[in-house]
Structure formats: C-alpha cells, structure tokens
C-alpha cells in the first residue's frame, strides 16, 4: 500500500475485502476469497434488483490495481457525503434501517444468497432514504441453514428499538457504548418483561439461550463435534417475515421532551418568525454554501430553508423528539437533509478499535457553513461554555458562520435564569461581538423584527 493510500480504519473485520482511499477517491478491494460470491451477486441478478429498488449503494468496476495482493478487483462505490452512526439516528431512522436490512436479506434469499452480517453500521442515509453500503455482505445461502447474522441483528436493531419504544427513547445512546450492539442480557434486564411476546422471544429467551449454551462452546473446543442446527427455508422466511411485521408496528413513544414542542411554543411572533426566515435566506443566498451544518436545528425548520435550495444540510439537535420530527418531515422526500441526534456539549467522539473505527463529528466533513440559531444561551448559560471557547470551537470547523445572539432580556433566557443564580455578567451582546471578532470576520448583522435578537454572518 502506497503512502497516498489509506485503508479505512473501520474496514477490517470482514475478510471479503476492505475500503481504502487513493488520491482522495474511495475504493473497495474485493479479496480472492470473495470472488465466487461477488460473481454470483452480479450474475444472479441480485445486484441489479437491489439497485432498482434503491436499496444498495451503486458501484463502478475499475481497472485500479489492488493495494494488497490478495485482491482480485477494485470497485468504486458512490460516495456517501456524510457518514452517520446508529447512536445519532432518530427512532424512525433506526426502524427504517432495520426494515431495509431484513428486506435485503429476504431479497437475497430469492437469489440464493443471504446477508452474512446485520450491522447497523452497514446502513447510511442519503436524501431521506436508508441505503445499504456494504456490497460484500452477501454470502451463499446454504440449504436449511439458520441466519448467522440473527444475533447481530437483534443486538444492533431489535434491542435498541425495543428499549426506545418500551423504556425511553434516549436508550439509543447505549449503542454508542456497545459498538457491536447492545448485549441481549443487558437489554433483557432493562426491559424487565416489557415489549410483549416479541421481546420475550428475541431478547429474553434469546439471552437465556446464549447464556445456557455458552459452556457448550468450550466442549466443542475440547473436540466434541457439534450437530449443525437446521432451519428449513420456509421457517427461515417466516422468521424474517414475522420480524418485518413486528418492527413495522413499533411506533415512536409519545413522550415529550423539553424542546420537542418548540415550534409551537417559540417566543417569536409571526412577524418575528418571518423576519428570521428572511434573514437566514438572505445570508444563505449571499454564500450559496454547498454544505451546511445546522447546530441545534430543533425540528429542522431553518435547515429545510437551506436544503430546499439544494444545500446539503446536516441538522443536529440534542432532542430526540425534535430529530424524529425532522426525520419524519423529510423522510423519502429526496431532500438533501440528514437529521441527527447530537449533544453539542458532548458531540460524538471517535470510537472503536484504536479509537479509530468510527469517526468523531468534526472528522467527517468540513462544511462550507455553520448555522447556530437560538442556541447560544443554552451553551453559555445552561452549560457554562464561555464565548471564547465556543467561538474557537466553531472557527475550527468551517469558514462561514450564521449565529443568532439571544440577549438576557429575552424570555427564553429569563426562563433559563429563573431557576439559577445569574453568574453570567459577561453574557452581553458587546462581549459576544468582541469575543467572536477575535476568531471571525463580521460580514453582516441584522436584528430580528419583533424581538431583541440579532443574527450575524461571519466569515474568515
């Protein structure tokens, strides 16, 4: 492998091949051991069927040389502009990813293949739709064989979905600690019988069966042959079909969080909301950013302003209800917007083996513009983040910034201060401007009509 080439640090588990970049382009090497499967994927018509349904990321076959000599071919998959992870998805996004995985497995079985893994990391989101990105996840179907990825599917999808539905929607964050899915015994302990017969079978009995037969594995090591478990094709398909039916029925728990109904209870008058929309639109028209991160997007009202004009937008918010609303609003609509759950005071860090398998938030992209509307008071007052640290952090991520300053006299800030002592003497517009001017070049500032707020446009 040459110096200009980099093996993707999250692509090492599967011996079928790996992802690497060469001269800034993303490629996938297919190893010799996977040649028959790759040939069958194409010749059986499965690859074409998956593309027709928009379920699999397309790739181009290339004449590039393999970086390692165990390779037979190099393909160039279509690049996903922004990689996201399951612990950042809304409930419905995780549910859609689970359904996609099962549907792909079922379609693969029609073509004599199966999904040999069911990792949630194999799914990404593109213009409001989930898409499977691991072209090398398909293996031959062996007659009467069980689904080897069943346990992984339960850990990566069923456990978080059931915990989110029956315990708390924030349970999705557990998947950040358990990179190969939530252990089923842990999910079982938290569920404590909730989730009905579906959870009983796939989590409770499943966890008990794994525990009961854990010792059997050591007897196999001692040389005792194991009788293969058989599962008829009919029962195999029934299992997949029943999981599809159950998952389709799971619905977002009706709980409300602090800011979930923000749009309805915003402090803006109609005039103020129009003014804010007009200022944001003007700033966006001035810059025409190709990509934008909306930090603290709430239900995505202002992210949509950017996305609808073609700006690829990632809408981050810490509220699972708001992220869910944004996902539902844009799901399947072919709009370039990606709503993600992200606490700005504790953004996703790099995790996994060697701390490199999954990227941190800022490693994934350098957007053309950042937008931070009505968030500064949450950062500075609720979380005690000084202006200086905030301005520095933001300036390291992009060359443009749209930011709204919310003064202390604003009703939302008053609400935050009502339950705590006001120790924020330096939370003033003058101090905000002076501090941000050290890291950013002011381009424009406009007052939001009908409020005391100001929206700034900064550059470098």
């Amino acid at each position: 492998m040459k110096e200009s080439e980099g093996k993707n640090s999250g692509s090492f588990r599967d011996p079928s091949g790996f992802v690497f970049s060469r001269d800034g382009i993303l490629y996938r090497q297919i190893n010799r051991s996977y040649s028959e499967q790759f040939k069958h994927l194409n010749e059986s018509g499965l690859y074409r069927a998956l593309l027709d349904k928009g379920w699999l990321i397309p790739h181009a076959e290339t004449a590039e040389t393999c970086p390692f000599d165990n390779g037979i071919q190099v393909i160039r998959p279509e690049r996903i502009p922004f990689i996201s992870y399951p612990y950042e998805w809304s409930f419905s996004a995780l549910k859609d990813a689970a359904l996609l995985t099962l549907r792909i497995h079922k379609l693969a079985m029609d073509h004599g293949m199966v999904l040999k893994d069911a990792s949630a990391f194999n799914v990404q989101f593109l213009r409001g739709k989930p898409v499977f990105i691991d072209t090398l996840s398909f293996d031959f179907y062996r007659d009467a064989s069980p689904w080897i990825a069943y346990s992984q599917f339960c850990r990566h999808f069923l456990a978080p979905l059931l915990l989110m539905t029956f315990v708390d929607v924030r349970m999705s964050l557990l998947t950040r600690s358990f990179i190969d899915g939530i252990p089923l015994d842990l999910a079982d302990r938290i569920l404590r019988g909730r989730g009905g017969f579906f959870a009983k079978q796939h989590i409770h009995w499943h966890a008990a069966s794994i525990a009961r037969h854990a010792d059997t594995s050591s007897r196999i090591d001692a040389g005792q042959p194991r009788k293969p478990i058989r599962l008829s094709r009919n029962n195999h398909l029934a299992l997949i079909e029943s999981m599809l039916l159950w998952i389709e029925k799971l619905s977002f728990p009706g709980q409300k969080t602090e800011w979930g109904d923000y749009t309805a209870q915003t402090s803006y008058s109609e005039n103020g909301a129009d003014s804010k929309r007009s200022i944001v639109s003007d700033y966006l028209n001035l810059m025409h950013p190709e990509s934008l991160w909306d930090l603290g997007s709430n239900d995505g009202t202002y992210s949509l302003l950017a996305a609808q004009t073609g700006t690829r937008t990632v809408a981050f918010d810490a509220d699972p209800v708001a992220v869910e609303q944004c996902y539902r609003q844009t799901r399947g609509k072919d709009i370039p917007i990606l709503p993600l759950l992200m606490d700005l005071t504790n953004p996703s860090s790099a995790i996994g083996f060697a701390g490199k398998e999954r990227m941190s938030m800022s490693e994934r992209e350098r957007p053309d513009c950042l937008m931070m509307l009505a968030v500064i008071h949450h950062m500075a007052i609720s979380n005690n983040v000084p202006f200086d640290l905030l301005a520095e952090w933001l300036s390291g991520m992009s060359d443009h910034l749209i930011i709204e300053f919310v003064p202390k006299t604003d009703v939302q800030v008053q609400r935050l201060l009502s339950s705590r002592e006001d120790i924020f003497d330096r939370y003033t517009q003058e101090d905000f401007e002076a501090t941000f001017a050290r890291y950013w070049k002011p381009i424009a500032r406009r007052a939001v009509q009908g409020s005391e707020r100001t929206i700034y446009l900064y550059g470098k």
């Binding site: 893994d117 069980p146 069943y150 194991r226 478990i229 009919n234």
Partner: protein, 63 residues
C-alpha cells in the same frame, strides 16, 4: 463453494432462532389463512352483489 463466516453466530442464538422461527411459521400460516378466508368472503360477497345488480339491470330493461 466457500462460505465466509466471520461473525460468531453463537450456538444459543442458532438454537433459539430455530424455536422462534417455528412460532413465526405458525403465526404466518394463520395470518395467510385469515387473509385467504377474508379474500374468499370478499369474492363471494362481490359475486352475490354482481348477481343482484345484473338481475336488477335485467328487470330495469324489462327482461
């Protein structure tokens, strides 16, 4: 033909899968049976309706 098994399928997981799939097969059988019965009644009802409409039409035409 070589198979690539790089994740641990876990024996306990395989065993419970076979059990759970059995329940699923029974469930799916009943769902499809129910659908077939519903479709049969729907067809029957539609045929009866069509026959009634035809006889009414015939009466209207004075046949």
């Amino acid at each position: 033909m070589r198979f690539i098994l790089y994740i641990d399928p876990a024996l306990g997981s395989m065993i419970i899968q076979a059990v759970v799939a059995g329940f699923a097969a029974v469930g799916i059988f009943f769902i499809s049976f129910r659908k077939r019965i519903a479709a049969w009644f729907k067809r029957k009802f539609k045929a009866k309706n069509d026959a009634d409409i035809t006889s009414t039409d015939k009466k209207d035409e004075g046949i």
